[in-house]
Amino acid sequence: MSASFYTKPANNGNAGVAMETSWDSNPGRQRTLQPITTGASVLAIKYNAGVIMVADTLGSYGSLAKFRSIPRVLRVNDATVAAASGDLADMQFLNTVVENHAIDEEIHEHGIAYSPASLHSWLTRVMYNRRSRINPLWNTYIVAGTEAGQPFLGYVNMLGVAFKEDCLATGFGSHLCLGLLREALDAAGGYAGLTEETATSALEACLRVLYYRDCRAYNQYQLANVPVAKPAQVSGPHFLQSDWSVAKLVKHYTE
């Protein structure tokens, strides 16, 4: 916490939004125009005693599967985890800021830590403010955890669009897998009827679908489980078993 002189709020006519950009006086500075090294989907689902989230460990450089062991799941504290897809440099930058916040809180020894809801809210404000300056952090974040004995799951994207749901997915996952996750929830009559095992196998099945159908997906992943009364656990790397024997049926495919 920095101690600075108090300054009365500036009386500007732009409703407090800074309109000058630093790149006018600093031409070397640039806005984000496109993501460079990217992470693919993140999937998450609530279950009866917590929430599980998965993300593969691939950093794609365009269509090149360049970095095959990038951790995209961040453990914030015992009750909160977050994972991101999109530009990995932006993700790593934001993750450092979040980690420093978490350290600050430990230093103050209040015993008051980030809750998943407060992290989700803070992230939303950061992402929205960056988009409002036309210099976004090119990510979609999913925040998962437990608060007051209830599982929490929230989504924030680079436009600052934020919402909470019982199952969430980013990128290709939202096209190919959200339906599968919703079916799993419906079959169980809501997340209160979903067991940890069913939730995990549903997510694994989704990861497999992604590995088959998303060209930027990978078969090595991290898994985060935040149970209601126990500390969060991030495990990995896990390896996905897949069956490509159907490939020989593809015309012109050679082994």
Partner: protein, 253 residues
Amino acid sequence: MARRYDTRTTTFSPEGRLYQVEYAMEAVGHAGTCMGILARDGIVLAAERRNINKLLDEPAFSEKIYIINDDLCVAVGGITADANVLIDEMRLSAQRYLLQYQEPMPVEQLVSSICDIKHAYTMFGGRRPFGVSMLYSGWDLNYGFQLYQSDPSGNFSGWKATCIGSNAAAANSMLDQEYTENMSIDEALSLTIKVLNKSMTMSKLSADKVEVAVFTRKEGHTYLSLLPQSKVEKLIKDLEEAELAKKEAEKKT
């Protein structure tokens, strides 16, 4: 001799003192008394009312007690103009936190951040410190009811019962003797009147010279309510009767 080191706020004297900070505390010592007592189900705040001028237009909610947000109010002792700056900043700070985290700011964090600002003025910039001490009466989900006191040096601590302003020393020593743990609000109110009666500058305590407020929670909301004059009068009357009865009892033994 010490005069040489007086005017630079951010410079130590040879004896290792910060004179400007001490002088600021002197300024606070001349201000009206403010007292706070932590009860088991709330906090009682009392302040000496000095501006009882009939010509004053449209009185504010209170002369010395200011609401910061739903769950925090402060009683101010010292230079009111300085205090206004700090109160504005606290209100903004609390709302910024609420916007960012969609959760109310924990009381101690808010107190700590405003004290960091107060302290900055004692360490750099060459400007005089804020001549304000404050009693913070707050509630949050993690620690319940809390009472904090800060002074112009930027130091703060949590209290069960404390007093600032004129005659604070006498009031504090009396609180030290008479305070008991786990008081009810009513017991805290009686203690407040008792201590004020003994330590106020005015000759006799009367309801129009003091404002008493109770800070409690009901059904998930925090409330700060100023006691109506009639209720304060009754408390004073009860105290007088109790003292009289005590004297009678002592005469008999």
